[in-house]
């Protein structure tokens, strides 16, 4: 055994390895990405098959096949990826598994880097499968191993849902560094079991509904479901996930309030909860995202005619959106227990006024200055980012023309920021290409552009292109190919040819894919060559049908800059470079335009914009 200080995602990865995982698949997505990275790092003898699949649905299906052969399998994704994988998962839940299948779907309350605040626990209930909800890094390591055992015991896929504050929290974890993948029994053909037909679904549905209460009963004695507090307590707090940690932080070792930790929200451990809630008259549900525990307790209370008042999101005792904080939970529990009084918003303002008057009278006026406001720090495209150049080229080429710009998911969503202002829509992975078609059918005069990253193109862009070609839409697909999955931490993808097994496979050419899909014009340009890029765009805009431009230039984070841009004294301070491209390396100090040599990568976009050619490239 070895003890290391590690990230929650590493603990989940090492837990899966300790459980003898054979196959691990996933698609990058914050906050889940480091799990697959960690497994690959520890897979030195290549005994585990690790892959970044092209999308979450592919990952789930690869795993379904491996599991039928008896392999223990892990699938990782962020919660929106679960939407993509749900087609496979929903059916897999009916068919069941042979080798244990654990699907890690990382939720992102806040949301901190996501489009939605959906709740994987609810998804588990919808799929009728078990879900594990770890409350700490240490617990996650053990719990994922239990998840594999339960999956095999009941022959069902199980969900495992950490949240950002578990994934990206750190703690010391003792792990088994000698674990080896388990023996794979091999696929035993059985079409009655593995081929889903309405008859099988009907039969299995019945079996699942009969089985779930049994799992709930089993979970009632699961060690991670626990409660503290003495007999005779009237008030209880029920919590799950990191919110349990926040509740514990406030209550510490108090026994006058019952604190219930639900580690397996579905199937609900009813016996455990009835036992924990014995004699309780009021309960506060402390959780993030959906009021899941709150509704389950309400249901339980109705079913068993408990004399119980349930408080939470439905009653306004907990916030309905956003992530919980330690102090927010402390405040809510404090109010619930009558230990804190609701804050009077007038009181603070009043005290502030009195303080000021006091200071004025005592001659301290100068001293008590008001808290200055910290400046906004909005995220922007990095200095030298090739996406800036691509967006700028399209913007320049379309100046004065009617055009729509459909964006997509990735770093390039930041192209919406001023002064570029080049993202009119952004919905979900791959939607830019298809939405541009929808916009086209409403106004055929308008030129429609769809921006898609290289990884997103493989994940879910290709079908959209086929749709456009087949239905004879008119659009320009702009593939922003920076040769990596940048936003989630630079993972490889089919276009790079690098696999998680350490091999270099056949890189798939985006150009060849587009041509094969019937795109009649496919141009590849370096976006940092503004003239060539603009010409390519103009050429495409002049033609009808589906056209594509691949803007190819690597992400600045995976290359080393060899040049930098410098401003000569020819600069007339017109600030056109600043107004047009908004590069964070360029700023004005004492009315003079300067370029920060530490930030500049020498991309040279500004040198092509300067009206007096005052900016030049220089070797670093």
């Amino acid at each position: 055994m070895k003890t290391e200080y590690m990230m929650g995602n590493s603990a989940i990865a090492l837990g899966a390895i300790a459980a003898g995982v054979n196959v691990a698949c996933g698609y990058p997505g914050t906050p889940s990405s480091e799990i697959i990275d960690t497994i690959a790092k520890h897979n030195t003898n290549k005994a585990i098959h690790v892959e970044w699949s092209v999308n979450e649905k592919s990952a789930m299906e690869v795993v379904a096949g491996a599991s039928y052969a008896g392999a223990r399998c892990l699938v990782t994704m962020k919660m929106m990826g679960l939407n993509v994988a749900s087609d496979a998962l929903m059916s897999l839940a009916y068919v069941g598994v042979e080798g244990g299948v654990v699907i890690v779907s990382a939720d992102d309350p806040g949301p901190i880097s996501s489009q939605t605040e959906q709740d994987t626990r609810l998804f588990a209930k919808y799929c009728r499968i078990p879900v594990f909800d770890p409350s700490s890094v240490e617990e996650a390591y053990k719990m994922i191993q239990d998840a594999f055992d339960y999956s095999e015991k009941y022959k069902t896929p199980v969900l495992f849902r950490p949240t950002t504050r578990i994934d990206h929290a750190y703690a010391a974890v003792t792990y088994d560094e000698t674990a080896t993948p388990k023996e794979i029994p091999g696929f035993v053909k059985n079409s009655k079991r593995f081929v889903i037909f309405p008859r099988l679904s009907r039969m299995n549905h019945e079996m699942i509904e009969k089985r779930n209460p049994e799992i709930g009963e089993d979970f009632s004695s699961y060690k991670c479901n626990s409660f503290t507090g003495k007999e005779g307590n009237k008030k209880a707090v029920i919590a799950g996930g990191v919110s349990y940690a926040y509740a514990k932080e406030y209550l510490q070792d108090r026994d006058d309030v019952t604190l219930i930790h639900v580690a397996t929200p579905h199937p609900l451990p009813e016996t455990f909860l009835l036992n924990a809630l014995k004699g309780i008259e009021e309960v506060l549900a402390v959780e993030e995202l959906f009021p899941y525990l709150e509704e389950e307790v309400l249901l339980l209370s109705g079913k068993h005619k408990l004399n119980l008042s349930v408080y939470g999101k439905h009653t306004g005792h907990m916030p309905t959106a956003g992530e919980n904080t330690a102090e927010g939970v402390a405040e809510a529990i404090g109010l619930f227990l009558g230990e804190r009084k609701p804050e009077d918003p007038g009181k603070k303002a009043f005290e502030g006024v009195v303080d000021k008057i006091k200071d004025r009278l005592s001659g301290n006026e100068e001293v008590m200055m008001e808290e200055p406001k910290a400046p906004m720090r909005a995220p922007v495209l990095c200095a030298g980012c090739p996406h800036r150049a691509s967006f700028y080229a399209v913007k320049s080429a379309m100046k004065g023309k009617k055009a729509n710009f459909s964006g997509d998911i990735g770093c390039y969503t930041l192209g919406n920021a001023m002064p570029l202002d080049m993202v009119d829509t952004c919905l979900c992975m791959g939607a830019g290409i298809t939405m541009a078609q929808g916009l086209h059918w409403t106004d055929e005069e308008c030129v429609n552009f769809a921006f898609v990253g290289d990884s997103t193109f493989f994940a879910s862009g290709m079908t959209g292109v086929a749709n456009a070609v087949y239905n004879q839409a008119d659009l320009i697909v702009c593939v922003l190919d920076n040769s990596t999955t940048a936003m989630t931490g630079h993972q490889p993808h089919p276009g790079t040819g690098i696999t998680m097994m350490g091999d270099v496979a056949n890189a798939i050419s985006i150009e060849a894919v587009l041509k094969a899909l019937g795109v009649k014009k496919v141009l590849t340009v370096n976006p940092l060559d503004l003239k060539a890029a603009t010409e390519a765009i103009e050429e495409c805009a002049a033609e009808s049908g589906v056209k594509a431009i691949i803007f190819k230039s690597p992400c600045i984070a995976i290359t080393k800059a060899t040049e930098k841009c410098v401003i000569s004294d020819r600069c007339i301070s017109c600030k056109k470079c600043i107004r047009e491209i908004g590069c964070p390396a360029i700023s004005v100090v004492d009315e003079k335009v300067i370029i920060d040599p530490n930030l500049c990568t020498g991309c040279g976009l500004c040198t092509q914009i300067c009206p007096v050619a005052a900016i030049e490239k220089e070797v670093r």
Partner: protein, 239 residues
């Protein structure tokens, strides 16, 4: 008992390495430690923070507000932004060199950091203001500030670790070719921290204080009463 350290700054300043070194030092000391980082969108020029919590009675990875014993701010405005986390009597180490928002050239905010430092000086008793550029000048790059500032914290006795403990963790954590320069950064920081110690006592005198006169006190009481009555009246009308 727990000791909570919040590190904050702007993406790219190296707060993550500093928090890793703090956690590793605590581990080396056989102490329980937890931490949490901001990862994702915020890294691209946005505000970042690392929560480091040392001690047994810690359950959540995030420091609750008004609970940080030490705030290490790599940037003046980030210190102010995160001041809510500091507990009463907590200590602050702040780099006085501001980082302009990346959008500054487009939407000038007039931000220069000086106002932030002035505010901190008035509000915080245990305050150590350092200049990252001056501190790191002998090292040739301000990038070493993340390690140097740990030296400052240790020198000023805001950290309970032995010097050797931190040095060992530096040697174990950073790339071999950077070990020597990082240890040097730590030592330079420590000297600065040591030299600062007397200033803290002096800081108590920065805020001019004098007793209120009887007349002034009565005025305030009268004012308070007036405001209170007005407030109550407003409250009654509402009801």
């Amino acid at each position: 008992m727990s000791y909570n350290i919040l590190l904050c700054g702007v993406g790219g300043q190296g707060t993550v390495l500093a928090s890793k070194l703090l956690a590793a030092s605590a581990m080396e000391n056989n102490e329980t430690v937890h931490s949490a980082e901001t990862i994702g969108m915020a890294q691209r020029g946005g505000p970042v923070s690392s929560h480091v919590r040392i001690g047994e009675d810690v359950y959540s990875p995030l420091i609750p507000k008004h609970s940080a014993d030490l705030l290490i701010a790599f940037e003046p405005s980030e210190a102010v932004r995160n001041l809510d986390f500091l507990k009463d009597g907590g200590a602050v180490i702040v780099n006085e060199i501001p980082m302009m928002p990346v959008t500054e050239s487009l939407q000038p905010t007039g931000y220069n950091g000086r106002e932030m430092i002035r505010f901190l000086k008035q509000k915080i008793q245990k305050l150590a203001v350092v200049n990252a550029d001056e501190l790191c000048a002998p090292l040739g790059s301000s990038k070493f500030f993340n390690v140097a500032v740990l030296g400052v914290a240790l020198g000023a006795r805001f950290l309970h670790f032995e010097e050797e403990t931190v040095k060992n963790t530096i040697a174990k954590t950073v790339k071999e070719k950077f070990v020597e320069s990082n240890i040097k950064a730590f030592e330079i920081g420590k000297e600065v921290g040591l030299s600062m110690k007397p200033d803290f006592d002096a800081l108590d005198n920065v805020v001019p204080k004098r007793e209120m006169t009887e007349e002034e006190r009565n005025k305030i009481i009268a004012l308070e009463e007036q405001i209170q009555t007005a407030k109550e009246r407003r409250y009654e009308t509402k009801q």
